[in-house]
């Protein structure tokens, strides 16, 4: 990258970037606090994470204009780690997540993103939305009517205000208004201050206080792997959305490495793991941000707000945050997938629903993605294993030609062999493989079996029309064309 493109990505859109960055910072605060509460840590952990990740990714990310911070997808993965082992292990897991992501970036694994089917991605965001929503339900337990009214009020402001003005983010107005009502009526509803500590200090560099041994590694590794994969999945999806919105391209491998660096820094400064945020990135671009400066502004301004308004932040009622989180979950859910569910190919719909169900059942997005990918791979193999064999008689019934169309591999050979009639009374058989492809040993074995069986019956067989790749495989592995061949060799 030369100097002028660096300058362009930083200062190509100064006014738009700074304004959008300010808007995003305001919108980030309630989310960072709420995601901390989901993870079961002090609000400062999410706020520090959002600050560190946003600032670092502004410099090292591959997608200018994308917003990364503490996210719901990541927070949901940490719940049991925090509950069982505490914050220090989470910080260590965050650093390890970063290391894994950097390794993935160095090996350019971003290209494997294309193997994650769209139906799994849709399932991913829908499951994420459902989990964010259900994670809020606990806040309603044993609550007063005031709390319910405040949630309703917050939602009303969030959805109605934008119709009149879009200058200030509606969620922020909702939080301010509901906080004011809570303070002045003295209704005594639970606040952010009741959920944990908010300190008025900049994050400082700290080594996680954990024993450095195999046992620790074994505890955090599964969490870090899940965090690394889910973080990259959401980040690369978000990058594609920002690419589309800004009609520009981005370096996905650089972004992968950048996410890793950002998470390492976050872990060392007392923050939790994070990734790119779809909602905030869309807000950023809509507000006019598309350069690195917007992400940096968001991070820095977020920290300023924490330092200046610390006393006020602790007074935010949980009800207002719950309202914001309900909005986040509604915004995350892909509603168009419900409308088009009956139009989707049936297997896609099954994959999507299975992904959602797995996540909701296991509370783990990474397991859902894994199940979804495996299931769609099986469906794909099943679909592609349909081989068509079409036969025709020529030369007055003395010769039969089998025309094979499809992919020959382990899943398709059984059906393939059953299409041949070995008992038939003909002198000659041609197997035309022009429209077929041999993929593996099973395929070669199947051809061997068929040819040798015909030979045993005294029928002359010819295999014709092999494409280059298939004939190379046949040369190497097949026995039918070598002398004294026996089918039993396979």
């Amino acid at each position: 990258m030369n100097l002028s493109t660096i300058k362009q990505s930083w200062f190509g859109n100064v006014r738009g970037d700074i304004l959008a960055g300010l808007v995003v910072a305001l919108a980030l605060i309630p989310e960072a606090i709420a995601f901390s509460i989901i993870a079961g840590v002090d609000p400062m952990v999410g706020l520090y994470a959002s600050f560190c990740i946003a600032v670092v990714i502004a410099f090292v990310g591959g997608r200018p204009g994308m917003i990364s911070a503490a996210t719901g997808a990541m927070a949901l993965l940490m719940v049991t780690l925090v509950a069982d082992h505490g914050l220090q292990y989470l910080l260590a897991a965050t650093i390890l997540t970063g290391i894994i992501q950097i390794v993935m970036g160095v090996f350019k694994l971003a290209r494997f993103m294309k193997f994650v089917p769209r139906s799994v991605m849709i399932g991913f965001v829908n499951a994420l939305a459902i989990l964010i929503f259900t994670s809020q339900l606990q806040h309603f337990a044993n609550e007063t009517w005031q709390m319910y009214a405040m949630v309703a009020g917050a939602l009303a402001i969030i959805y109605i205000l934008p119709r009149f003005t879009k200058v200030v983010p509606a969620p922020l107005v909702a939080i301010v208004v509901i906080s004011l009502i809570a303070v002045y009526t003295g209704s005594g509803v639970r606040t952010v201050g009741d959920m944990g500590e908010l300190t008025q200090a900049l994050p400082v560099f700290l080594l996680p206080e954990i024993p450095l041994n195999m046992e620790t590694l074994m505890i955090i590794l599964p969490y870090s792997l899940a965090l690394a994969v889910v973080g990259l999945l959401e980040s690369l999806l978000t990058a594609q959305i920002v690419d589309d919105m800004t009609d520009t391209d981005s370096d996905k491998n650089k972004e992968t490495r950048g996410q890793g660096i950002a998470n390492i820094v976050s872990g060392f400064f007392g923050g939790m793991a994070g990734c790119a945020m779809i909602g905030q990135s869309v807000i950023n671009v809509k507000s006019g941000g598309n350069g690195r400066l917007s992400t940096l502004t968001a991070g820095v301004f977020l920290m300023v707000l924490i330092l200046v308004f610390n006393d006020l932040l602790v007074q935010i009622p949980m009800a207002a945050l719950v309202g914001v989180m309900i909005m986040v979950s509604i915004g995350t859910f892909d509603w168009s997938s419900l409308k088009t569910l009956h139009l989707m190919p049936k297997t896609d719909a099954i994959v999507m629903v299975t992904t959602v169900a797995t996540v909701v059942f296991t509370h783990n997005l990474s397991i859902g993605v894994l199940v979804g990918v495996v299931l769609s791979a099986i469906f794909f193999a099943a679909k592609i294993s349909k081989v068509h064999v079409h036969s025709l008689m020529v030369e007055e019934g003395r010769k039969k030609i089998y025309v094979v169309t499809g992919q020959l591999f382990f899943a398709s050979v059984t059906e393939f062999i059953s299409e041949f009639d070995f008992k038939e009374d003909v002198d000659e058989v041609d197997i035309d493989l022009k429209a077929a492809h041999l993929w593996d040993d099973s395929a070669v074995g199947a051809i061997d079996k068929i040819v040798l069986k015909y030979k045993d019956n005294g029928t002359a067989v010819k295999v014709i029309g092999l494409n280059d790749e298939s004939s190379k495989l046949v040369e190497k592995r097949a026995v039918y064309d070598k002398s004294n061949a026996k089918a039993a060799n396979h």
Partner: protein
């Protein structure tokens, strides 16, 4: 008299009716050209990226939406080009219209009732208010 015509379209029925009127304006004018403009906003971006494998697919899906409109224009023998722009529909159409000095902007009205209009806001209304050229809102 109307040489440069902007036709805002999202492939909907209303937009197709607007296309018919745009062609009427262009009728018998050999100098007429139509820009078919399709605006993709943030939520649409998100949904399209989620539902398609890659940017080539997305491109194709969006062009497909305009096929009917495109065929109509093609059959009428009017010069045209398709433009996909990103942003909020109202302001984006206005910006494009004003930057490229169009002679007229043709846009379909969604026919919302007054409550829907209050909640959703009307794109055609915004365009009519802020575009520098005459705006034809087709009902």
């Amino acid at each position: 008299m109307f040489n440069k015509i902007l036709l805002a379209s999202d492939g909907s029925e209303h937009a197709i009716r607007a296309a018919e009127k745009a062609l009427l304006l262009a009728g018998n004018n050999p100098n007429a050209s139509i820009d078919i403009v399709y605006v993709v906003d943030g939520d649409k971006s998100k949904a399209d990226v989620l539902h398609n494998w890659n940017s080539i697919d997305i491109d194709q899906k969006r062009k497909e939406k305009l096929t009917f409109t495109e065929q109509k224009v093609k059959r009428a023998g009017v010069d045209y080009q398709i433009k996909v722009i990103h942003g909020e529909p109202g302001p984006s159409i206005v910006k494009y219209a004003n930057q490229n000095d169009f002679d007229v902007c043709v846009i379909g009205s969604r026919g919302l009732n007054s409550l829907q209009e209050m909640v959703l806001g009307s794109v055609s209304h915004k365009v009519a208010k802020r575009a520098n050229c005459p705006v034809l809102i087709v009902k």
